[in-house]
Amino acid sequence: MTAVTPGQERAAAPTATSAATATPTPTATATATPSPTATPTQPPAAEEDRTWTGRTRRWLLGKLPPDKLLPNTQPSYVASWIYVLGMGAIGSLLFIIASGVVLSFNGPTWYHVSALGHFVNSVHLWSVELFFFFMVVHLWGKFWMAAWRGKRVLTWITGVVSFAVSIVAGFTGYLVQTNFDSEWISFQAKDALNATGIGAWFNVTNFGQMFMWHILILPIGVLAIVAFHVVLVRVHGVVPPLEASETDAQLTHPDTTGE
């Protein structure tokens, strides 16, 4: 890290002002020379910027330039319905969050006494069911595509972890339904958790504790891991077919439009 001197800090403002004209004014020069060592300087070019922020920006842009973050093309082999399942899971997750937020406005027992609340609870339930459906088929699809190839191991692991954390999030959702099902599930589930010692700290019969896990801790966990997973997908791209060549030039009748 290169330390920024007080003189440089002061120089930053007038220089920025003069950047539009590209010719520092005498005033700017005067205020920017409190000591012989401090001279007016332009902000360092991106490739020379050694600040933490500059380095981070350079690293991020190197790993994930805009065209990789928001691509408008994909390799020719990306042509199957299996590829939309990940997006289906993300779409379902959006509905889970949205319906969960609406349920949060009126608390966990609102849906027992309100037709609208019951409908929103149903939306929450079915978006969870679809979320897991899409996620499981997506996971199986990626397994049979051996999608961990080509330095994509972390992408695969984050996918598995997001699945595992989602299961815990779904489980706590069943625990906080405030109905017969949640009573029974908490009674049954305590044994497995107690047998491993976890139950003493993660008490499934403590509604308050499970509620906070369900509406705060686990959603943050799921969203963070899913976001990291998606970023990794963008960084590494979609895994090519097994035994694929470096390009698809060997194909006899390519049916896609090349660039």
Binding site: S76, G91, F95, Y111, E183, A192, N194, A195, D248, G258
Partner: protein
């Protein structure tokens, strides 16, 4: 495949694609995905809805099955219920934990959620409600052995009585136990015991551990669950009340309990959790597990995904 080939192959898989590309609109796909999912979710919510069976309270139980309630309360006084002898994190009962060889994780957690079933589920609620004062005084003045003898004798007499009816119990030395349990049942019917037990944790008590464990010690609550196919030996972990899908993604977790060789083990929970932990770890680390990582090559289902690519080679 030699190590050199494998390394070269991995490099090729990691390299940016240099072949043909197709047009792709990320945001359009997201918008369509959200739209399709939205239609499905809203339609299912409107047409199918969601289950919502009412909670079972101590009041419900005491009203619907008074004999079972009294027998269970007697068991809590005698210390013979599942909760009374559970071990950590509820009680200090020796030898009650699930172990795997020398591994005893349940004991390591300690008794973090202590429950004295006689005091917390029977005596304190009666005290809070100001009921059965004489019987409580007699109970308080007795020795631990005397209390256990009274409660055990009454529990055995209830088991022998027709339909467990307290009114038909043979005469015996049961001390204050019949009055304590009958009064608790009568108070429970009014709803008082639900509030009294919850109040043990203060006004803003969100912890229902004591109530749920009390319910589970009886026959009524588990009987209702069994009638809805929700118990562990009925794949209950992945079932839901009514005709609704439950946590079907827990099918493998539930599967192990259906195998007698595992489900009948005294440490079945610990074994199943351990198995699932190992399998989840294996799934996460599949890329470094020989044999498992080769399955996609050996069983070429990937050719269905990339059928167009392979068809043209």
């Amino acid at each position: 495949m030699t190590k050199h080939d494998s390394t070269h192959r991995d490099d090729l898989d990691a390299r940016p694609w240099a072949g043909r590309v197709r047009e792709y609109d990320l945001f359009k796909e997201l918008a369509i995905g959200v739209g399709v999912v939205g239609v499905l979710v809203l339609a299912l919510a409107a047409i199918v809805g969601s289950p919502d069976d009412k909670t079972i309270t101590l009041k419900t139980w005491a009203t619907a099955a008074p004999a079972d309630f009294i027998a269970t309360a007697t068991g809590e006084l005698a210390g013979t219920t599942d909760t009374a002898g559970y071990g950590p994190p509820y009680t200090t009962t020796a030898g009650a934990t699930q172990t795997l060889g020398p591994i005893d994780l349940q004991s390591m957690s300690g008794t973090r959620l202590p429950i004295d079933t006689a005091k917390d589920l029977v005596i304190t609620p009666l005290t809070t409600l100001g009921a059965a004062a004489d019987a409580r005084a007699t109970w308080a003045a007795a020795s631990d052995t005397q209390r256990t003898d009274w409660a055990t004798a009454y529990g055995e007499a209830l088991a022998k009585a027709p339909k467990g009816d307290p009114a038909k119990v043979a005469a015996g030395d049961y001390g204050p136990v019949p009055e304590l349990t009958a009064t608790l049942q009568a108070e429970a019917v009014t709803g008082g015991v639900d509030g009294a037990i919850q109040q043990e944790g203060g006004v803003f008590n969100f912890d229902y551990t004591r109530t749920i464990l009390f319910l589970g010690d009886g026959q009524y609550f588990p009987g209702l669950a069994a009638g809805m196919h929700l118990t562990g030996d009925q794949w209950g972990m992945m079932n839901e009340t009514g005709n609704y899908p439950g946590q079907s993604w827990l099918w493998l977790f539930s599967f192990w309990y259906q195998l007698p060789v595992i489900g009948d083990l005294p440490n079945a929970d610990l074994v199943v959790v351990g198995l699932m932990g190992l399998l989840t770890l294996a799934l996460a680390l599949v890329s470094v597990i020989p044999g498992l990582r080769d399955l996609p090559r050996l069983i070429p289902l990937h050719r269905l995904v990339w059928r167009s690519y392979y068809r043209q080679r």
